[in-house]
Amino acid sequence: MVSRFIFSLVLLAFAFLTGCKNLERDNPLDPENEKSLTYSAVLVEAFVNTAHPSPYNRWALESLRNLQEKYYADFIVCEYHRDLQVDTTVYDDPYNTPDNQTVFQLLQDRYVSQHNDVPRGVPDVYLNGAQYRFSGTYNAQSLRQQVEPLFLQQISQENYFALQPEITFINDTTLQVKCLVAGLGMHVVEQKRLRVIFLKKEWDKAWGLHLNVVTKLVWPGIPVPDIKKGAYKTVDAGRFHFKDLPDRVVVALVSDDELTVYQTRYTDVGKQ
């Protein structure tokens, strides 16, 4: 009786292993699938000021809002709200904190350095890092008209980097952020960083606009260890403390110099 049971067990194991051997790795998101790839989402970083009376920033935000409503998860808007002058309160943006200003400026200056024709100012909008810059607006549609063709071009490209953010509530004021990173289509992940951006959704009464305010930017990005073909790793970005928890966490895989964004994903904190 026992020998028959053992024999059956061995036979079952054999059949199972044989079946596993023939299992095709055709999952498009499987890093070991040579043909695996994923879709691109575009990171839109907008340096804006909502205190200055000129309409340029409002026009920019209206354009971005329209595109976000149209393309939803593929069009990820992060607004870096800037003061205009560091040592006055003139036109200080109500959605910015002094702590953020230095960090925001480091990022904007790095982007501006790639486009010297226009100095630093607001609105100043970038697509997937410093690759595309859009400075200024002349009506509520102008930025949309400029951005949309390039955005469509970006999302039509095959993307070989997978990101999967994992947000854990530690307590009412603390979040733990981790992110699974993989190179698809047998691509390695080398010399990359993980940019982590925390967003708070605000409703601006004066302008009648929903805003995606960056409340914290991890700068510089967290170095991502090199990942071999067909492998993945989880990057632990650490624990982050807030007075008021953010509504959304955006993660982006960026180049070591922070100028190029390869892939972006987000998780809404309230939906955890």
Binding site: P55, Y56, L84, V86, V118, G121, G136, T137, Q146
Partner: protein
């Protein structure tokens, strides 16, 4: 005696070999032209106008002089073998030249070329080469506006208008291109029309224009600037 004979033969050979030996012994006496050269009734005319051109020549030899008139445009009214001739200006304006050769039995003498300006009635050809139509810029940027202006009579002045307002003038060109440096301001936000107007260097001051529209975005300078 023999030495003298050989020496004379040598001298003769040397002179014979020289091209100008005949001149030396038989100098030519070609016609001589007055210092003022070709005299014209007008040196600036409208297309199809007729002018009288005249040359004063003297013949050091006996016999008649032969006159042959030339021009690099337009037409002569016959007769064209006299010391004066009527020349009809061409339709196309520009700089033209008249000259004459005067001959006698010893050869011909050519006059210096006399310049005639034929006023072009056409408008200057104007093209804004840079920036391109619908190019986008932001407030605060200084852009180069390159205007190519051509006219048969030359260009006296090029004016640059921004949204109908005269912004700058230039009479300095490099290879027919007039360059203006334009700093964009808040008043230009939106569609801004750049118009270049070229004025020809002629009696009529013919004008030619070209216009383009550029897009100017408003931007607030700064972002944590120190005061």
């Amino acid at each position: 005696m023999k030495k003298a004979f050989y020496f004379l033969n040598l001298i003769f050979l040397i002179f014979s070999a020289c091209q100008g030996v005949n001149d030396l012994f038989n100098p030519k006496h070609q016609p001589q032209l007055s210092e003022e050269g070709v005299v014209v009734s007008q040196d600036q005319v409208m297309p199809q106008d007729t002018i009288l051109a005249k040359i004063t020549a003297t013949n050091p030899l006996d016999g008649p002089l032969e006159f042959t008139w030339y021009a690099d445009g337009g037409n002569f009214m016959p007769p064209t073998d006299q010391d004066s001739v009527f020349w009809i200006a061409p339709v196309k304006g520009g700089l033209y030249h008249l000259w004459v050769t005067v001959g006698n039995s010893d050869g011909t003498t050519e006059s210096p070329k006399r310049q005639i300006l034929v006023v072009s009635t056409s408008k200057p050809v104007v093209n804004i080469l840079h920036p391109s139509e619908n190019a986008y810029f932001t407030v605060g940027q200084t852009i180069a506006v390159d205007v190519k202006a051509e006219h048969a009579n030359g260009i006296a002045l090029v004016n640059l208008y921004v949204n109908g307002r005269l912004q700058a003038k230039s009479d300095q060109a490099a290879n027919q291109i007039y360059t203006f440096q334009l700093t964009l301001d808040d008043g230009m936000v939106g569609k801004t029309v750049l118009k270049a107007e070229a004025i020809a260097r002629n009696q009529m001051a013919s004008k030619g224009t070209d216009s383009i529209t550029i897009l100017v975005g408003g931007i607030v300078a700064g972002g944590n600037e120190q005061r």
